[in-house]
Amino acid sequence: MRTNKNPSSRLMACLSVTSLVAFMLNSVVAAPSEPLSERPSSVLPSSGLVSKSYRARAQNAPSPMMQMPMVFPLFIQNQDFTSAVVLTNAASQSTYADVTLTRTDGREITHHRVQFAPHSQSTVDIQSLLMSAVSPTTTGSITVTQSPDFDGTMVILGQLSMTYRASEQATYIDEEIAMPNMEGSQTLRAVSDPGEGSPLVAVTNLSEAGQRIAIRCLTERKENFSKSVDLLAGETLLTEPCSERTIHGAVIESFSTRESEGPHGPVGISLTTDGMPGSIAAFGLQPHKKGHHNFFSNVTFTDPKMLMSPATVFDGVPVGPANLLSAGNYVPELSLTNFSTKALKVAVQYSQTSGATPAIEQLAAFSLPAGSTKKVTFDDIQGDPQLQNSFLVTSTGAPGDVLAKLVSKNDSAPDEVELLGKDAQDMNNGGSNPWSIEGGSESTLLFFNHDQAPQIFNVLITSEDGTQWDKDFKLAPMETRAISIGDIVQKGLKDDKSKTLPQTAVSGQISWWTVGTASGPGTGRLLQSNRALGITRSFACGCPYILCGTRFFDNIINLLIGDTGNPLDSVTATICLYKTGTHCGGSTTSNSSSQALSYSWSSSNSAILQISGSSANSSVNVTGASTGTATMTGQISATYFQPSQTCMFGSGGNNTVFSVTVTSADIVADKIAVTMAPSTLNGTLTLTVNGPGISFTLFQGLEQGNSINFSFNRPQLPSGQYTYVQASWNIPGSGTATSTANDSFDVLGLYRHSQYNTPYESTCTGTAGTAWVITGSCNFTQTTLKSDFMSQLFINGSGVSLSNGSLHYYTQCSNYPAGANSQNSFLQVSQITGSCNTVPQGGITVAVFPNPPVSYPTWECGDLLQYVTSSDTNQVQKSVQDYCPGCNTGFNGTAGHIDDYSSSTACSGHNVGDYGNFLTIRLR
């Protein structure tokens, strides 16, 4: 079980807080002695209770309207040291911060307002500020106060970069900003790597009351040292924690002579005040001497109450050769102090990522006695030259019982590379860092996922011109990843939206974050280095990012039925710098579609909008299943552990599925039924009738969703074969719905329809003449037929006689008797049939050219013909059953000639005049 700590009030660099610092009050707390108490080794599992717990605390906290300063307890600006404050604005809006320089006696030297563009960085040169104030001061502290516009959400983060120039080669000291909090403890702790004597520590009194500070120095030899010092209100006191020397009102030069000796090994330092928790800030320098080369390492203090776990992460550690750093072989050296009253077990795990899979190694496991300090050197391990090496140091104690510091010493150069350890369960799940690739410098993001599950790191890089580059990086368990900003810029690498940074970009700001798991968030830092100049600066300023909102985008508002919007809708997450005390609130830093977040989609009516494929992405593919309007809702969620809360935001919008349907198409009924839906949409309807190689537009115009019947307007149809009707309904900006309905017909054109019949002898009036009837195999029988009947029989080809039945024209015989010929000799048949072997029916049968039984596909027996008048009304429907050998002529200006059978029995063509000219449509 872990203590239910208030994660909002930890003393951490770059921490977002709303708590008031009530330093005006005199402390009445207990006397200063470090409570080496037994602390719970863990805290409660994160849950919603944590947030409730926080809210209870927040109610007891002072007014959040007062802004807490961020403090750099020590700056040095003289002939040996230069100092510069590098600040970043992680917010997506412009802001400012006030930088105030204070002497060691607590008196203000000067202050300066720094303006920031969104996602930008700014460097404040301390020498310039001192010169502008005409101040001879060389030593003091710095406070940074950001604009109150953000209501307590810390968006300005920073680091003090000191450069020591008094030796052969300049060395660099990184001082992270300290943000004391009254909800922390009265104790600060630090571990210093082995140096030359006692470190020098600057302790700043942030209250307006004096404080007594109990100082303990824990060495390797159990010859621990302790003393007490008094700290005046607002004073920054310089003291050597492992020796007696303390000089009130001193400047750095006061310690230029070495009057006292201290331990030469690593030391643990503890500062305990009798003042209010969070009323002091401290930073120290550990002097080193390597041959003739002097340099300093930093001593960074931590409030143990602010730590969430007994595990410390060091990422991007130089091991062996390091391409980004000075030439040489780097050897990691770990310094640890057990501040507790009992021996604790310590384990050191090492992860190296040279290929795709990290190599994990347990380097050490040992017991660290109570109140002792120990140094462990790892000089026999291999490392990745791209710094893809990380360490995880765990102990059995409570958070803060064991503190560790890691440095990597170069066997070919005098200086060392310092690594700031991060709490494995740090609330800060991201960072805001300055980057620069000016003058041959490199900027490299170094991420480490110490979890047993993959983690996604979202990186937002902003260049000085405001261009943004946003990409997810997925790290395997225990993987370290080095990401070169120079490569991203110079190689034009694309982000997740295929954007690149301008090739001219040389500096800017980086925001990065993870969601994290119960094991804690991934850690990261930005390394600015220049191998040629030996410059190494690490920016590890962390801050808490949180999901705080969502934005919904309708990529396609109106969707075609049956189509899939790829994607139809999308959501982006609003990422904020977490405002302590809120539920998923803060100041916006970016909008993201990172897969580090969880997405889910739902349709209010899946019968209309049907999700296609995954619903777990920032965008969703949706198929229009039926017409209508439904709502798509996208939900983004993320579960955080420090503080424990699940942030969930949903947003949605309406999408309309539209369609057009040709419900029926019938050339005979002259009706095309079209339905456009829904009725809320308006678009251009185009109706065409189509066939192989032909398309004719029947209608084109704006139509509201509706059901409409259209005419084929048959007299205007060009001749040709048509097989289907197509309706297209174009909704501007949304696409075109299309529907077809089959209806096969051939528009033959305007045809002349003559008539023919079978004359009956009974209707004839001529005189009887000699004739022959042919039966069987050319058996000729003389008979008499009326002369006009014989003429009509000869002209028409058939007739029905009075006495000899049905007769046909016939020429197949060669044995004509004397006087007989084809014009007076006819074949007797049982019945008169057309070429399709059917008995002609008046008003139904038609004869065509060429002969239907042998002319397919031009004609086939049984073809139906629809006759249409010039006023587009149906005249009649007839059937092709006979052959008209003369119908290849006699068009009379029309497109064709068809002979229609008449039931007339007349003995003269006078009674069977033309049926008329009609638009003729073959229904096939």
């Binding site: 066939g691 192989p692 190689g693 032909i694 001749s719 040709g720 074969q721 051939d746 002349r752 003559s754 008539q755 023919y756 001529g766 006009d788 003429s791 009509q792 000869f794 002209i795 028409n796 080809g797 058939s798 046909h808 024209y809 020429t811 197949q812 010929n821 084809s822 014009q823 008169i832 057309g834 070429s835 004869a847 060429p850 002969n851 042998v854 002319s855 596909p857 031009t858 006979d882 052959y883 008209c884 050998p885 003369g886 119908c887 290849n888 002529t889 006699g890 068009f891 009379n892 200006g893 497109a895 002979d899 003269s908 063509g909 006078h910 069977v912 005049g913 033309d914 000219n917």
Partner: protein, 289 residues
């Protein structure tokens, strides 16, 4: 022969064709034609068609046309004393009657299809008659009637003047003898078909053009005539591959809906497919004919 795409500017004339207006015998219009010597007047009287011949200075004579000739579309003076009546016996079959005006008698009569008079009115071309229906294997025989000659001179030896079918001299196909029964019951391989719907005379020339189909091959037939009869006949194949738009020409059939003559000598043929599933070019130009 070759296909061309360029079109000359001058369009001359087309053809002269009978049977304008279809077959509507009950709507027979009165037709009056005059020459220097004669005035003829055709009119309907109940079911009969009557022709009045009025020679100047003489009383008119009236003829009753054969009762099967129920419609007359044109009355043409083909010589100073002879007229040709172009009409129809029904909706399919045309009839031609020749009248000697001096005697006011019908001197010849026959049935045919698509009769077309030459511009100088000396020649009548047509398709040999066959019964309009209930016959199979019909093959078109293209015939010429010289209107300056007698009925006997327009018949083969042995064909009586009263024969209404086997009349005229054969233009095409050359193997035809215009004998009784030679245009029906023919096997498919022997069938000729007129595929231009009509005959087309060149303007002011006794030159004839039409399209014949035989064994699925299309030919442009050109014929020229002199006072002595048929002077020359040419046959030019129109390849389906030059007409049909689909690669498979096996089912591509078409008819020529018109032929236009141009003064530079080329022809423009307008086309229509029988089967719209196998489209053809809308028109083609023939450079030489």
């Amino acid at each position: 022969m070759r296909w061309v795409t360029a079109l000359p500017i001058v369009l001359l004339a087309t053809h002269v064709q009978a049977q304008e207006g279809g077959f509507h015998p009950d709507q027979q219009k009165t037709i009056i034609e005059r020459s220097d010597k004669y005035t003829v007047r055709l009119r309907r009287d109940k079911l009969n068609l009557l022709l009045s011949v009025n020679k100047k200075g003489q009383p008119p004579t009236t003829l009753v046309l054969p009762n099967e000739m129920v419609q007359v579309d044109k009355v043409e003076f083909v010589t100073a004393n002879k007229i040709a009546l172009l009409g129809a016996v029904n909706g399919d079959v045309n009839a031609v009657a020749l009248v000697d005006l001096d005697s006011a008698k019908i001197i010849d009569k026959f049935y045919c299809y698509a009769p077309t008079l030459s511009p100088d009115k000396q020649f009548l071309v047509y398709i040999k008659f066959f019964p309009a229906h209930f016959v199979q294997g019909v093959s078109d025989v293209y015939l010429l009637y010289d209107l300056h000659k007698s009925p006997a001179e327009n018949r083969a030896a042995g064909v009586p003047n009263g024969d209404v079918q086997n009349v005229g001299r054969v233009i095409y196909p050359p193997e035809s003898k215009n004998q009784s029964g030679d245009n029906t019951d023919r096997p498919e391989s022997e069938i000729h078909t007129l595929e231009s719907g009509a005959f087309y005379w060149a303007p002011k020339e006794d030159r004839l053009v039409f399209v014949d189909r035989f064994q699925d091959r299309f030919s442009l037939i050109t014929a020229s005539f002199s006072d002595s009869g048929i002077a020359n006949i040419k046959q030019h194949e129109i390849k389906k591959t030059d007409i049909c738009l689909s690669s498979d020409t096996s089912q591509c059939t078409f008819t020529v809906t018109s032929i236009q003559f141009f003064n530079d000598g080329h022809l423009k043929l307008k086309l229509r497919p029988y089967n719209s599933r196998s489209p053809v070019k809308a028109e083609v130009d023939l450079n030489e004919w």
